[in-house]
């Protein structure tokens, strides 16, 4: 993985597999604390205490198509390489929270990457899941709740061509505005 956004995309897939109906993606870039924090919170099936203990082990995957699961270990490595950390909290039947902290100005910190494209891909691929996306850069914040968009759209799908293009512009504009403020 070369970008943090790709790690996020990857970890969110775990939430989807865990049958979450609500997934929160929360990014906070804080210059003062010199930290970039990513929180992914879902209401999926969660993990047992036993599995939680070994979930950072690459050979602990629950998949059946291959024997290794690298999503979590890769994110952990990326975070720890910048003096940061990875924490996972989970409760069976309630959901999971994955928190990754990166050193914002650390030379080894991967770029955040294309968050607009990442969220667009998720919104449109999993239309039935409610996504709450929040990206904070210092004082400025961009927030999207797909439920609000869904309410406007009714049963018109996110993948309808015009809607897709609107969503794409909407997310790109939101992200751009955050970066303009970053002086």
């Amino acid at each position: 993985m070369r970008e943090i956004s790709l790690h996020i995309l990857d970890i969110v897939q775990n939430s989807v597999v865990a049958k979450a109906t609500e997934i929160e993606v929360d990014i906070c870039e804080d210059k003062k604390l010199d930290k970039l924090t990513v929180v992914i919170r879902d209401n999926g099936c969660g993990m047992s205490e036993e599995f939680l203990k070994k979930v950072i082990d690459p050979f602990a995957t629950k998949r059946t198509t291959r024997k290794v699961g690298l999503g979590i270990p890769l994110l952990k490595m990326a975070a720890e390489n910048t003096g940061g950390s990875l924490e996972i909290q989970s409760k069976e039947g309630e959901g999971t929270v994955v928190t990754a902290v990166f050193g914002l100005s650390h030379i080894d910190r991967q770029p955040l990457g294309d968050m607009a494209g990442t969220m667009l891909g998720l919104f449109t691929a999993y239309e039935d899941i409610r996504f709450l996306y929040k990206h904070k850069v210092n004082e400025k914040e961009f927030f999207v709740d797909t439920k609000e968009i869904r309410n406007v759209l009714g049963d018109v799908p996110f993948q309808a061509p015009e809607v897709y293009l609107w969503l794409s512009d909407f997310l790109k504009e939101g992200e751009e505005e955050l970066n303009q403020m970053e002086v």
Partner: protein, 121 residues
Amino acid sequence: MKSLAELEAIRNKAKGSVNLRKDDNAVRIVVGMATCGIAAGAKPVMTALMEEVAKRNLENVAVTQTGCIGVCRLEPIVEVMVPGEEKVTYVKVDPKKAAEIISEHIVNGRVVTKYTIGAAQ
């Protein structure tokens, strides 16, 4: 800034014309989006597919994601399912190939044989 009012206008325009994809006769394009796929570049491929579908106004095509398809070394993998036809699996796809798959396979109905899993093995 994009407004929800704008979206409402889009909805009113789109309503009625876009329910096709929920039918069984919709074309399904599935992208492998597990760790292996993402690391190999599946996200730009997904974006290219969706953009191409949107730009060409293909109402009857649904682009979806799936987990690991099981042949990680050939990722990014894209599967195309046209109703009534055999599933076609494309391997080592990039955004350029993705656009070609849409124009050739989906629009013109010709399988792009050189990118299929059969050609790679």
